[in-house]
Structure formats: C-alpha cells, structure tokens
C-alpha cells in the first residue's frame, strides 16, 4: 500500500506541488506514504521498547505480567547483575580493540587515499585496484588462514589478534570513502602550497587532512561501529573470558543467565549505550559522510 504512495510524497516535494498549506493538503495522497513510514517506525521501535522495559523487570514481573506492559516496579537489579559479571572488563576490552583498530586503520587509509588521488605509478595503481577488489572479499572466507597465522604468531587469545585483521578489513572501504572526498580538493591549493616550498608530507597533513576531516570522522565512526559490533574474529581468535569483547559476552551471558532474560537484555542495553552516545554526538557527520561516500 505504501509502496505506491511514497513516491508521490517525494514528487510532491520535488515539484513544489504540495497543496498550499491548507488543511486539505494533509488528506492528499501523501497519507499512504506517511503511513508506510510510520509502520516501519513501529517495527523498528517495538523490539527496542521490549528490550528496554524487560531489562527493567524483576523475575516475578517478567514471568507474571504482560510482556509488552511497562514494569510495575522498575528495578536496576539486572544492570547490577551484569556489571558484577565482569561486564566492565569486556567493555574495556572492546574499547581497546576498537581504538586499537580504528586509529591505525584511519591513519594508513588516509595516507593510502592521498597517494591514490594525488600520486601515480604502478605500485599506487595496483594498490588501488587491490583495495577495490577487497570490497568484494567476504571476510568469513579468510577466517581459517587468519586463525592459522594468528596461532603461529603466538597471538591466539590476545586482543592484538583481533586488532590486526580488523585494521586490514577496514582499509578498502576507508580508502574508497576518503579518496572520494580527496578528489574534490582543488588542485590549485596543492599547487600554491608547492610554490611555497611545502613537501608532499606537509601538504598531506596541513592541507588535505583538515579539508577532508568530515570524511575522516565518518570512516572513524563507521569502522568503530563495525569493530565494536564485530563477532566473528573474537569468536574464533580468542577463548578466555578475560579476553571477551562485548558482542561475545552477550552470547556468553545468554548461556550463563539462560533463565534470566531481563539480565541478558540489560547486557544488550549496556553494550549498545556507548554507540548511542557516539551516534548522538556525531550523527550529522556520520550520515552526511556516508551518504556522500556511497553516492559519489
């Protein structure tokens, strides 16, 4: 139903044909498009709502009440249970792995993107082709050799084991987005800096970096999101509980607290909170950067 109506919403905007702000306008065909939008919103919100209210219920309230009703006696006890179950350690592990992956990934990707856009020659050309092909490599397929390499390097069950491949797999998309943005920096700016005697290195850090800072922030957040939520590498490359990162800890909580669903869901909420904060702080940047990155 919404399938037909939504385009009319759009074209109404594009043509400026929306009725002149009269109440009549609100009953125009836009209604169905809006309806579709709101239905989707309900689908998005319902699980989120369920997770939050359930995490605030005690066992009796969970088994006794309507699952979708808010708790009659909200309690933070589940959150305490989770925090006492080494959650803080998992949180710190996730922070270490995320920062440890994202910072190097952004630096090497920026340098590579700069070389790709401004440079020439066979090495740079082949690297560019390789990164583009890398976009199509399914990460899962390489996990067995990565496991082999990490074991041989005596890195199994360390946080570094998670960091190294995460950097590698962040590179293709980062180079892609950064080079899309770097191409828009006018050549004249580089030329005038060159006339002033600046080295390529200075130009990269003093001119290019500040100009594409929005893109840098975008890929930093995008990669942070990926690494923070990553599950496969931790599942395969770590083992001991003190090396767990958050997504893996959720999975483990599920077993530990198998009957205590409110506690498991409290862990879900806690593990997501940092990203929600990050998103609130950097939403505009992320959304505009991603939009531009994928549509150029």
């Amino acid at each position: 139903m919404a399938l037909v109506a939504e385009p009319t919403q759009d074209t109404a905007r594009q043509t400026g044909a929306r009725p002149q702000g009269k109440p009549v306008g609100r009953t125009s065909p836009n209604l169905l498009g809006g309806l579709g939008g709101w239905v989707w919103l309900a689908l998005i919100i319902l699980p989120v709502y369920y997770v939050i209210i359930t995490s605030l219920k005690n066992q009796a309230g969970f088994f006794g009440s309507n699952p979708l009703a808010p708790p009659t006696e909200p309690t933070l006890a589940n959150y305490r249970t989770v925090l006492e179950a080494d959650f803080v350690r998992y949180f710190v592990n996730s922070v270490v792995v995320t920062l440890g992956s994202v910072i190097p990934a952004v630096i090497v990707s920026f340098m590579a993107a700069y070389a790709v856009v401004r440079g020439s020659g066979r090495i740079i050309g082949s690297a560019h082709t390789l990164f583009l092909m890398g976009l199509a490599i399914p990460l899962q397929a390489t996990i067995i050799p990565i496991y082999f390499m990490i074991t041989k390097a005596q890195l199994y069950d360390t946080l570094l084991a998670l960091i190294l491949p995460s950097i590698a797999f962040a590179i293709p998309i980062s180079v892609l987005i950064l080079s899309n943005f770097l191409r828009d920096v006018p050549r004249e700016l580089f030329e005038s800096m060159r006339l002033d005697g600046c080295s390529e290195f200075t130009m990269m850090w003093r001119l290019a970096l500040p100009l594409v800072r929005p893109a840098v922030v975008t890929i930093a957040i995008y990669n942070a999101l990926h690494v923070w939520n990553g599950f496969l590498f931790p599942l395969i490359l770590t083992q001991s509980p003190d090396k767990r990162v958050l997504p893996l800890s959720l999975w483990a909580f599920q077993d530990e607290f198998s009957v205590n669903i409110p506690a498991v869901l409290a862990a879900v909420v806690l593990s997501t909170l940092p990203l929600v904060v990050l998103y609130v702080l950097a939403r505009r940047q992320l959304v505009s950067g991603l939009t531009a990155g994928f549509n150029k």
């Binding site: 067995i144 997504p247 531009a292």
Partner: protein
C-alpha cells in the same frame, strides 16, 4: 621505486605501503591460504598434511553443503526482494524536507547501532511463544514457535535481517534521491506527468546506480549474516538456516575439519567475487570503475 626529483608531482609510493602491507598480510595472504588449505587435511591443531582433492570431495559430497548453498541463495534472494523495495521507498520518502521525516530518519538509524549478537538476542526474547510479543499483543497468531519451526524460521531470519539492514540502505537511497535535480521534476510537471509517472520515469531511472550499489552491498552482505544467524538460530532447527559461512565455521571449528571448511571458504570467495562482478556489469561497462567504487 625510483627516487624522483624535487620537482616531481605527487606523493611517493611509500605512503600507500602501510595500508598495502596490512591488506596483503591479513586479507590477500589468507585468501591464497584458504585455497592452499582446501587441498590439505588439518584438524586445527596438529600437522597439516597434503590431501589433494580429498577435502573438496568431503565438502562437496556432504549433503549439508548443497543444503547450505540453497539456504544461502534463498536468504540472498529474499533479502533483495524484501529490502530493495522497502529501503528504496523509505529512502525516497525520507528525502523529503518536512521535519517529521527527518526525525523518522534519525529513528530508522537505531538498528544500525546494535551488534548482530544484540539484535539476535533481542529477537529471540521477543519471539518467544510464551514470554514475547505474541502474548503481549494478545494475538495468538503471533505466539508461534517462530524459531523452532523449520517452515517459519527462514522468514523470521529474513525479517530480522531486513530489520537490521534496511535502515542502512534507506540512507543510501535518501542520498541518491537528493542528488536528482529538481528541474527534472519541474519539466515533467509541465509535461503533465503525474506523481506515479514521475516516480517511474524520473526517480527510478535516476537511481539506477544507487540501486546497483545498494544491491551489491546487500548481496555481499548476505554472505556476512553469519553472526546474526549463529546467535539467533545456530543454523537450526535441523539445517533450516545453516547458510554457507555458518556451515564453514561448524565444519572447521566444531567438526575440526579445516580442509573441508577451507574448500567451503573458497566457494564463498568465488560466489562473492562472481556476484560482485555480475552486479557491476549490470551498471554498464563504461561505468564499471565507478560502480566498483560505489560498492
């Protein structure tokens, strides 16, 4: 690499070297490694011995493999069929300027912040026939054993995937729509085209490359639904949701047959690269480089 004169244009190749090194060691080398390992016998701990085609034979004659391929294909196709229209229309819708649409677009983004493990755990609880949404909404129809029924579970998985990933594609389409010049619509309006006509004759053709980009990401992404399905159903009930990456993981790390698992990994790479290539071709030859960039 030649040392260039001070006047030479452009940065030297060393700037690309750190990224290249990481990528070669942790992506390209493993890619070659998986091909090599697929011709060996290895239990994950002991010695690796050459096995010729034995691992391939194991992988290909295993009846679960064919099933996993079919499940993977089904999930891929259904994901596209469900996600492309929804995210396209939501993208077109939220590209509008009214404030409430902007607010909707913000809320749509929420699932992207959750890890697949979190999403899977949330839906597991929500779909519980006794304690979840079914009894909560008072609709007996919703109180089914969604994850325990081999007939229903695939559709649940496709729904949950859409729940998590439609928002991302909506964002891509929103950006695509905003790049269509308003003059196109003005011209169409003068020619007397209706709104639906405008959608099919302007919006849709103009979004061609956005559709290809988004679909490429969806198809490649469908090989990466591993985490979600691993936590949500662990491939079950039976083999109903055991898709190829999961089958590879279970063969390698649970059944300790790394050789056969590597063969499955090679199949995964071939499918991934093959599909990326096909989708790229759809974009037309002369656009091929920029299409790849779009992916």
């Amino acid at each position: 690499m030649k040392v260039r004169g001070a006047r030479a244009e452009g940065p030297s190749a060393w700037m690309v070297v750190p990224a290249l090194a990481f990528f070669l060691v942790f992506a390209v080398l493993p890619l070659l490694g998986v091909v090599f390992l697929s011709f060996t016998n290895w239990n994950g701990l002991g010695a690796i011995t050459w096995a010729g085609l034995e691992s391939w034979q194991t992988a290909l004659t295993d009846s679960v493999t064919m099933n996993a391929l079919i499940v993977t294909l089904k999930i891929m196709v259904y994901s596209l069929v469900v996600q492309v229209p929804i995210s396209l229309l939501l993208g077109v819708f939220t590209a509008g300027t009214q404030r409430y649409r902007a607010v909707l677009a913000v809320l749509y983004f929420v699932p992207l912040l959750l890890s697949s493990a979190a999403v899977a755990i949330a839906f597991k609880a929500l779909l519980d026939p006794n304690l979840g949404m079914g009894p909560g909404l008072g609709l007996p129809f919703l109180a089914q054993n969604w994850l325990g029924s081999a007939d229903l579970v695939l559709f649940v998985v496709i729904f949950v995937i859409a729940w998590q990933f439609v928002p991302f594609h909506t964002l891509i389409y929103q950006g695509g729509v905003r790049q269509i010049p308003a003059s196109f619509y003005e011209a169409a309006q003068i020619d007397g085209a209706g709104r639906i006509q405008q959608f099919f004759h302007i919006t849709l053709p103009q979004l061609k490359y956005t559709i290809i980009t988004s679909s490429t990401l969806m198809v490649l992404g469908s090989l990466a639904y591993f985490d979600l399905i691993f936590v949500l159903t662990a491939g079950g009930p039976g083999y109903a949701t055991r898709l190829l990456p999961l089958h590879m993981y279970l063969t390698g790390f649970r059944a300790n047959d790394m050789g056969a698992a590597s063969a499955l990994g090679v199949i995964l790479v071939v499918i991934g690269l093959g599909l990326a290539l096909v989708l790229q071709r759809l974009g037309g030859k002369n656009r091929s480089s920029s299409q790849l960039e779009g992916a």
